[in-house]
Structures are given as C-alpha cells and as structure tokens.
Point group: none
Chain length 276, copies 2
Amino acid sequence: MPNDHPPANPGEPTTVEAVRERLVAVTGGLPKRLRQCADYVAQNLDRIAVSTVADIAAGADVPPSAVIRFCQLLGFSGYSDMQRLFRDAYSPGWPNYATRLENLKSGPSGSPRAMVAEFIEAGRMSLEKLAQSLDDAALEQAVATLAGAGTIHVVGFRRAYPVASYLAYVLAKMEVPAILHHGAGHLDQRFALRPGDAMLAITFAPYSDETLALAAAARAAGLAVVGLTDTAASPLSRSANTLLTVTEVDFGAFRSLSATIALAISLAVAVGTARR
Amino acid sequence: MPNDHPPANPGEPTTVEAVRERLVAVTGGLPKRLRQCADYVAQNLDRIAVSTVADIAAGADVPPSAVIRFCQLLGFSGYSDMQRLFRDAYSPGWPNYATRLENLKSGPSGSPRAMVAEFIEAGRMSLEKLAQSLDDAALEQAVATLAGAGTIHVVGFRRAYPVASYLAYVLAKMEVPAILHHGAGHLDQRFALRPGDAMLAITFAPYSDETLALAAAARAAGLAVVGLTDTAASPLSRSANTLLTVTEVDFGAFRSLSATIALAISLAVAVGTARR
DNA sequence: AGGATTTTGGAATATTTGTTCCACAGGGTC
DNA sequence: GACCCTGTGGAACAAATATTCCAAAATCCT
C-alpha cells in the first residue's frame, strides 16, 4: 500500500509512537498555553481521531489557535494533518480504497501484476479485519455445536462454494463425518438431514436462495445451524443458531476469500480436534 | 464528556447496539442505493467515527446524498448526528492489528481463537511471499495463453479443488467459456479437450495423479497448459507450457490458500479483461 | 402503454471546521 | 520608563464537509 500522503514534512512524526516521543521530548520549557495543550493531548491521545480543534481547545482550556500552533510545534502542518495520522492509525490502510479502484480502471488497464498487488492488499486487509472483529463467543459456540453433532452438512453455493468444499476437505481429512452439499443432479437433499446432525451454511450477498432454503429446512427439522456470512443483517441469521460473520474486503467484483477461508479452516480444525 | 445533545428525535437510536438492530430490521425491501449504504455501514460500523460522508459514500459506491438519506432513514437527522453517536462511543480498544493478534494467540493453544490467529498469520505471510516472489513474465504469458484460447479447462482436485472452483466461478462471471473438471461420475473427460482450448491445472504436493494425467493428456493433444503449483520442481512442470508457482505457508497440516487464491483470481480477472 | 410514485444524482447552498494573521499583553532588559 | 521579544486571543478568512432540493430516471401500478 503506497503512501497516499506524499508530501510529508521532514521531521513530521509518522506513527503514534513517534508523536508520543516527541511529546515527551518537547514537554519542558514550554510556554503556558502550549504546555496546557501538551498535557491535554498527552492524556487524550486516543480521542484526537474523533475530535475537532474546538473540542481539544475546550478540553485544554486554550483558544483554538493555540492548538494549531501546538500541532505545528510537533512537526505537523496543522491539526488536520495530525488528525489524519490518528485516523489512519486506527486501522491501517483504509481510505483511498475507492480511489485505487478508480486508478486501476483508468490506468494502464490493470496489468496482471497490478491486479495481483490489489488482491494481495485486499486479502491482507481482510485478514486484519478478521483479527479485529472476530466474535470469540460465537466461534466457541460454533465449535461446540459442530463437535457435538452427528454428521455435519456443509452447504455453500456460488462464491461460497470454494469455502464449503475446502471445509469439507479438511473435515474429511480430520475424519469428521461431513457431507458437502452441492447442486449436482439437482437432488432434493433435505431428507438427508437426520436428527442430531448439524448444518454449516455459508453464503454472502447476494445470498443464494438454495443455501437459505436448505438452512431453513435444517432449522425446521430441529438441526443446529451454524451460519457463516458477511453481516449480522444477513438473511441467514433467521435460520442460524450461531452466526459467524467475516467481512471480506473485495476488490472489484470479486472477494479474496482469505479471511473467510482462514476462519473456516480454523473452525474445521478446532472441530476436528474437539471430536477426538 | 457529558451529553450535551438534548433534543433527540423520537425514534433516533441512542446506542451503537440500537443502530445495529435498526440496521438489521431495516435491511430488507430497501432500494438499491440505500441497501448499498446499509451493507457498507454494517460492515464498517467501526469506521464511522473517523470517516466523512464522502468517505462512506465512496466506500459504498453511492453519492453522498444517498448516505445522508440513509442516515435519516435510520432515524438520525443527518450524518453528523449519527457520527456524534459513534464518536461518543469511540474508544479505540487499540484495534492495532499486531496487538489484537497477540490477544487472539494468548488463548490456550489449541483454542479456536488461537487457531484463527495462526491461520491469519499464515495467510498474511503467504501473501507477502507471493508479493515478493511472483514471476511477472510467467504471469503475463499465462494471461496471454488463456486469453487466446477457446474453452479453458480448469482442473484441480483435493486441496486444489477450492481454488479451481473459485477460478471457474470467476471466469464464468466474466463470461469466459470455462469448464471445471471435477471427478463427479468418474467420467473420462479427456475427449472434451478440443484443439484451440487451453488447460489450467492446479496441484500441490502430494500431487494428484488425476490432475497430472489430465494435464499430460491435454499437452499430448496439443493444448496449451498453464500450471499453478507449489514449486518449479513439481511434476506438473513436465506438462505445463507456463508454470506459476506460489508458496503457501501452512499451519499444521492445512494451508491457508490465501496466496493461491489471490493469484488465481488475479489471473482470472486479467484473462477476463483481456478477452473483451 | 401511460400515469403515478419512488428513487437517484448532482449542483447549489449552508454549516462547520481549520488556519492565518495581526494587534496587543506581559515580562524581561537596559 | 521605553524598548524589545515572545506569547496570546480572537476576528477574518479559507477550506472542508454536510445538507437540501429539484430535475431526471427508474420503477411500479393499473
């Protein structure tokens, strides 16, 4: 991810840590108002991302202009400049995503190399987001449910199918009784759902009707349903006892699936281990 | 920071939780643009506090005014109003990726979340490695080959099957004539290989005999064969005109597939684009 | 198909927010 | 006490951001 803020002053801190250090270094022999700023900022570093100059000024009990001066003292060009650092740091590499897409569309129309770079980036971001937003409790519950079930019915069509098939592969390798439901032959597989079984249904927007229908059928038959989807608002939530959500950053029309697969394998391995 | 916002609309959510619920409630029978907003917002709740309307709009790929309308639909008077809620609630649990990963790993080893952390790590490393070691020339050549072919035969079994199926999905979406060869019915599919077609074969150690056999048959029939495998020494190199290699870091017995999939989609998208 | 209704995009406008600048206050020096 | 020099506040200005509004497009009913 190339730096999109090219003209960084020399001496301008580029990480939150650097700001913290600069703050310590500078605090000493500072005029009254600037010292107030330093103190307040030091104690409220985490609120800079969401505060206006006026907020900070009020908090430090100084006029806004003093805050700006203070930022400049730290090496920034102004408050906005400093704030950007904190906003970006909150979760690295977010903005300008739309811009990059534009660039790619307009640029030397996506050399394969550039495309790979974009998908790598999307994958990396997805993984980071997963690390941040994973719902431990739901995961534990999903593992418990699937570990205690008879046969595990894995369902996923379209873009979810690769995930479903890998899941089925891993479960099979771990000698867990699992069945991958694919559309082959257009059989009605509802009657394969036996009491005591569990279903692991995977679908992302735009949600596949077949998957939703199978999940609903499973639920109606009294099976435990674990859903793997993209948002809590997914229609899958109606059928699922346990819902795991994973946000995949997609580039162009296609998702990288990195995060989804990471979560899926973990789930499978954990279930396999738990069933020993 | 006391609450200085006396005139709260009736029906206006007052907690982040309430927003989430409202989001779920409202998602359904929403016009296109508003739904895009809903989806994006649902997946990026945590960024609202630090984003401008323009950011959100760009992310959801809608004009700014749609975002405002969406906020009003949620019960707020506008974006600022909604943002205030998130800013007040904002407390960066330092979602710093590295720290968060540490936390995840900190669980009892073998716990599901520790496992997720490991797979995330493996995925990230794989992606990084891909970025470094990608062979541009081979990629260009692969794209050229596949873009110039008639039908593309995608082959991959076992752990390569998820990749193959995703590849087939993406190619289909891009309206490229592609066939996914799976073992269903154990048919002998060699005779489907027609002159002018190309094969995209995927296999990793331990290499699948079926894949190797199909690739060899394709080569014998004069088709161009693009191989996607793990090392240049792979037996696939005997049949492949062009060989793409991708090293996947695996955790335990299973690979994350992140890098493989990133490369595969890029290839598919590049081919799809080139065929226009 | 035709008319009513909803949805949409974007230009115009309003508002908020950030920044600059300058006149002035205070405190130290000769 | 006059002179500088640093620090200060706030008014004026500039930039960004949010919001409204309306004509055009799409969609939904007969």
